[in-house]
Symmetry: C2
């Protein structure tokens, strides 16, 4: 892990860009951390530069609660090499959406499963590197989309203690079996009036999770309109489980 | 409104029992209220004495946030006169449940609609009396079951600014039309694994509400197992809308 750039944000949060095996990432740590802090991994749909305004807002919010936050670029996102198969799957998805056709499970599988297979070990490698820093102590939470990455991480990565998942992206049917194996505390965000999202599938997925503590927060506001107060609700969820 | 008994609870909250036109009720006010406080009406399924432990816990929680809280006995609840028709509907409901049969809409209508018709004007009369007290200033929220009472109140009572509804009781189909007329901010609690509750109906009801700000919180823990942290979430919801 190599830090490439650092700056103090106006609220004192330290923002450090890094690369890890050529994967770019960003780490934010609270202004005044006296002891090693818990860490929240910020999931996103890919494209760190495009997602930066939303990611930094979430990271500042985490830092205000005393959490460090970190994210890495997804495979095929930003400047990372594209996969021809993933581009083809994405094109097929857009074609189906533009034609107003239902999105075939087979397209979702081609789009999401290879991404999960590739991304999850990268997040785990980032976790190794981040937890080796003296200022990061754990425990660790995962927050955000891609929900299929969050599910796989929750199953395979015992260092993740709690997850806040956005039910706003495509989920391969085979992930339902994995969802049943998730046992960590979950908070699931669903945008109720998100036209691009299959609400019933999100509800079925919430039902499938094996966790004894799982909470669904459904709100209005469309795909990108998660209400501001969910930031606070997320902090309180993580404060219950990571402190 | 006649106060019949008062005591200071150990956290300083002032608890006053009252009667209003022979309806018993309880008012809780914060230990140190310097200005008139907002008021939260605590809904419940009837039987003040039996419900007291849960009601006083919710009232203390409200008081900690600076809210007064009040409740009244439901028609036919506690020592109030029973209605033969309501008792018959209740018996028919229990017979259907014990036989494992689906509960007929007609039974729900007979059970709930007359209760709503009778209870809502009583809550409004209580509101008149409570808001005439110098220590109660408004705005006013409604929190709890019976959800059909909360819906009707939200539609007909403009002094209610926000409602936290428990989706844990029977809802006549005709209430869906009223739900569409509700426009105040809502937070709806659903116990996901409540076997005595129709989850799909609760989701349909959430979908029907006309409010631009509506949030569904679904949790595990069975009918009476609403997690403790929902008390805090409820306070924050009311803090956003009543302060």
């Amino acid at each position: 892990m190599r830090f490439t750039h650092e700056q103090r944000l106006d609220d004192g949060v330290l923002e450090r860009e890094f690369t890890l095996d050529e994967i770019p990432g960003i780490l934010w740590t609270p202004a005044s951390a006296s002891a090693p802090t818990p860490l929240i991994l910020l999931g996103h749909p890919g494209g760190l530069h495009k997602m930066y305004p939303r990611l930094v807002a979430r990271a500042r919010h985490c830092a205000a609660e005393g959490f460090a936050a970190a994210t890495i670029e997804l495979p095929g996102g930003g400047d990372r090499p594209r996969s021809a198969a993933a581009e083809q799957a994405r094109a097929d998805l857009h074609r189906a959406l533009e034609a107003g056709e239902p999105v075939d499970d087979e397209i979702v599988d081609r789009l999401v499963l290879p991404l999960v297979d590739k991304a999850v070990p990268e997040w785990q490698a980032a976790l190794d590197a981040l937890l080796s820093l003296p200022e990061i102590g754990g425990p660790v939470g995962y927050a955000g989309g891609v929900i299929a990455i969050g599910i796989r991480l929750a199953v395979v990565e015992p260092r993740i203690s709690a997850a806040l998942l956005f039910a706003g992206s495509y989920v391969p049917r085979t992930m339902f079996e994995q969802a049943r194996q998730v046992t960590i505390p979950l908070q699931v965000l669903l945008q109720w009036d998100d036209e691009g999202n299959d609400r019933q599938l999100a509800l079925d997925l919430f039902d499938a999770f094996g966790s004894k503590e799982k909470t669904l927060h459904a709100n209005m506001g469309g795909h990108t309109g998660v209400p501001h107060f969910e930031g606070d609700a997320g902090n309180r969820f993580f404060a219950r489980h990571l402190k």
